[in-house]
């Protein structure tokens, strides 16, 4: 399990290595075939900041060789915003007086068909973390209803037991996304005040359980703005390298969610600038040449367009974060504010203008 590796790294030492790295180490790390932990530290270091252009060039070149000039499109579909956790940064925090809603199976299918009509063949099913509102069997039932219509179905739901993930995989779910939010245990404790999510290691082991259950894609990420992005970047990369080795049949995906304004009025304690975000993406690409890197509609349109060629291989478009949002149900409130409000067709057109092929389907229902 990743926890066995995670616990061997002393966070203080990691921080010292990152902040103590020099320019020569960064230059070596940028061109290293397979970066070791010291090189990973160097890539996230302040010493790498002035070398961002060199990193961006390397990152773009690696991505082009490995993935070509294509960007895969997907859409999130929120089944529910009910949640038992008290995460101070999240709109779904159980203490927040928002309108709560859980869609029926039929309503989910209606939402999905709207996304299908817009061209999507890859969808990501999301819930809050309330297993009574949306039990495992309910997610599996939805997957069985959608599996023949979509090429790929992923979930971003509450962490489950291995057997439960197995139930989802058997029902046609092929991808799992589970963000650790932050790898800094002190920050983690401070921002997760109640609910099952307070258990750092239950969550940390989640991608392992997904790997054991046989998901074809395992998505990880840190919520940017909670803690020092350089340190979280190091652990995210380490986590990705570990998963790619331990579950060699699965593809690793890394996302870069930056904290956005959400109901509850939380503001990011450690804001991550646009430049930092680009640095993080390029470093992760250099360390994980084969990982899918994803950038969501949390980011504004101009920035998404500019970052795209540097290493991004997957993008959401036209997203709604409120359950029933695509059908205009107005049943419940959203998780966070969407920044890029363009339609899927507009995003696809932008991708083409940037010299990339927007790909709606890059998987198949026969492959699960």
């Amino acid at each position: 399990m990743f926890r066995d590796i995670f616990t061997t790294y002393d966070p203080g030492e990691v921080r010292d290595r990152i902040y103590g790295a020099g320019e020569a180490e960064v230059i070596r790390a940028i061109s290293a075939e397979s970066p070791d932990p010291a090189a990973i530290c160097a890539l996230f270091s302040p010493a790498a900041d002035p070398l961002l252009e060199m990193m961006a060039r390397r990152s773009a070149a690696i991505t082009r060789q490995r993935f070509g000039s294509v960007v895969q499109l997907y859409a999130p579909l929120y089944i529910s915003n009910e949640c038992t956790n008290r995460c101070v940064y999240c709109g779904f925090n159980t203490d927040n007086p928002i309108r709560r809603a859980t869609l029926s199976e039929d309503q989910v299918v209606r939402e999905a068909m709207i996304l299908h009509e817009a061209g999507f063949r890859h969808i990501l099913l999301l819930t809050g973390e309330d297993r009574r509102a949306v039990p495992v069997d309910e997610v599996a039932g939805i997957a069985r209803r959608l599996r023949d219509t979509f090429a790929s179905l992923s979930v971003e739901v509450y962490p489950m037991e291995t057997e439960e993930y197995g139930t989802l995989a058997a029902a046609g779910i092929d991808g799992l996304t589970l963000y650790q939010e932050t790898y800094d245990t002190d920050t983690y404790r401070r921002v997760h005040l109640g609910g099952k999510k307070t258990d750092f290691f239950w969550r940390l082991d989640g991608p392992d359980r997904g790997g054991i259950a046989g998901f074809r894609r395992i998505g990880i990420g840190a919520l940017l703005g909670l803690s020092d992005w350089r340190v979280d970047g190091f652990y995210t990369a380490l986590h990705g390298l570990y998963l790619a080795g331990a579950y060699w049949r699965s593809q690793v995906q890394v996302s870069f969610p930056r904290l956005r304004d959400a109901p509850g009025g939380f503001t990011a304690p450690v804001p991550v600038s646009d430049r930092d975000l680009v640095h993080l993406i390029c470093a992760v690409r250099i360390i994980l040449p084969d990982a899918h890197l994803s950038l969501s509609t949390r980011e504004p349109e101009g920035l998404r367009d500019d970052i795209l060629p540097l290493g991004i291989t997957s993008m959401s478009a036209g997203s709604k974060t409120d359950p029933g949002g695509y059908s205009g149900l107005e049943a419940g409130d959203g998780q966070f504010e969407i920044c890029d409000r363009r339609s899927p067709a507009e995003v696809a057109a932008m991708i083409r203008r940037r010299g990339f092929d927007p790909v709606w389907k890059d998987w198949d229902r026969m492959l699960r």
């Binding site: 074809r216 790619a244 492959l367």
Partner: protein
């Protein structure tokens, strides 16, 4: 067996004659248009399409129809993404049902990082697909015994890799590919890793029957120009092979012969 390897005649695979020995992959292009132009410039008559990229429910799928528009091109659907025999067989069957024909490039690559083929599952899938009437072109590591086993199972070719897919590293498996070429009774197509026209020429000089190229063309600054360059490289390599390359010598020719005293 209708095909006799190593001759100077045209390339024949499963009773179809090919005028070009350059096969093309269709992934990684920046647009369908760029892909179409590269196909045209390459002169290729066999083009592979990943079924995972094709919307098989949609008869007007843009990728598929754009390849099918080329009248002289043999469509070669591939099973990229399949991690075992069962998935590959399912993909091939659905593709045939949906009108993609019965040729299939069999790819069973359980490892999404290096996309290396699983020999056990590839052989299993090949045996099933051949029995079901498919024309099977399997992507394999450069393993001469596996190549023979696949040939015995009835595959139309074998497609050993030069180096991992997309790596542009050229022919790193040269010794084993030479053995495969020597032993094979079916056409040998060097697939994957060919990063430049000189790599393709090298494969053809070695006696490969054809090569398959994707990344090096699709990600070139000018894919059309690169497609033409590969076309020329393949033709040059084949001409050299047919002309009969002089064998390289391991020792220098001594100016004073060692056996001169015998005269």
């Amino acid at each position: 067996m209708s095909h006799i390897r190593g001759g100077k005649g045209p390339l024949i695979i499963a009773d179809r004659t090919f005028g070009s020995r350059l096969f093309l992959g269709t992934g990684k292009f920046s647009s369908i248009r760029a892909m179409e132009e590269a196909i045209a410039a390459s002169g290729s008559e066999m083009v592979t399409v990943a079924l995972r990229r094709v919307d098989l429910d949609n008869p007007d799928d843009e990728l598929l129809t754009s390849v099918q528009r080329f009248a002289d091109i043999q469509l070669l659907p591939n099973t990229s993404g399949a991690r075992d025999a069962l998935e590959a067989v399912r993909l091939a069957r659905i593709a045939r049902e949906m009108g993609c024909g019965s040729w299939v490039k069999l790819e069973v690559t359980p490892d999404p990082r290096y996309l290396l083929p699983d020999p056990v599952e590839t052989l299993k899938a090949a045996e099933i697909l051949v029995k079901e009437g498919f024309t099977v072109l399997p992507y394999i590591n450069a393993d001469p015994i596996l190549a023979k086993r696949l040939e015995e199972a009835g595959t139309a070719t074998v497609m050993p890799l030069g180096s991992p897919i997309g790596s542009n590293r050229g022919i790193r498996t040269e010794d084993n590919i030479r053995i495969i070429i020597e032993m094979s009774g079916v056409p040998v197509v060097v697939d994957a890793g060919l990063g430049s026209p000189s790599h393709a020429a090298q494969a053809m000089e070695m006696g490969a029957d054809a090569v398959l190229v994707n990344t090096a063309i699709a990600t070139a600054g000018d894919p059309v120009l690169m497609a033409g360059a590969f076309r020329t490289g393949v033709e040059a390599g084949r001409m050299a092979y047919e002309a009969g390359l002089p064998r390289g010598r391991e020792e220098a020719e001594a100016s004073s012969p060692l056996t001169g005293f015998l005269r």
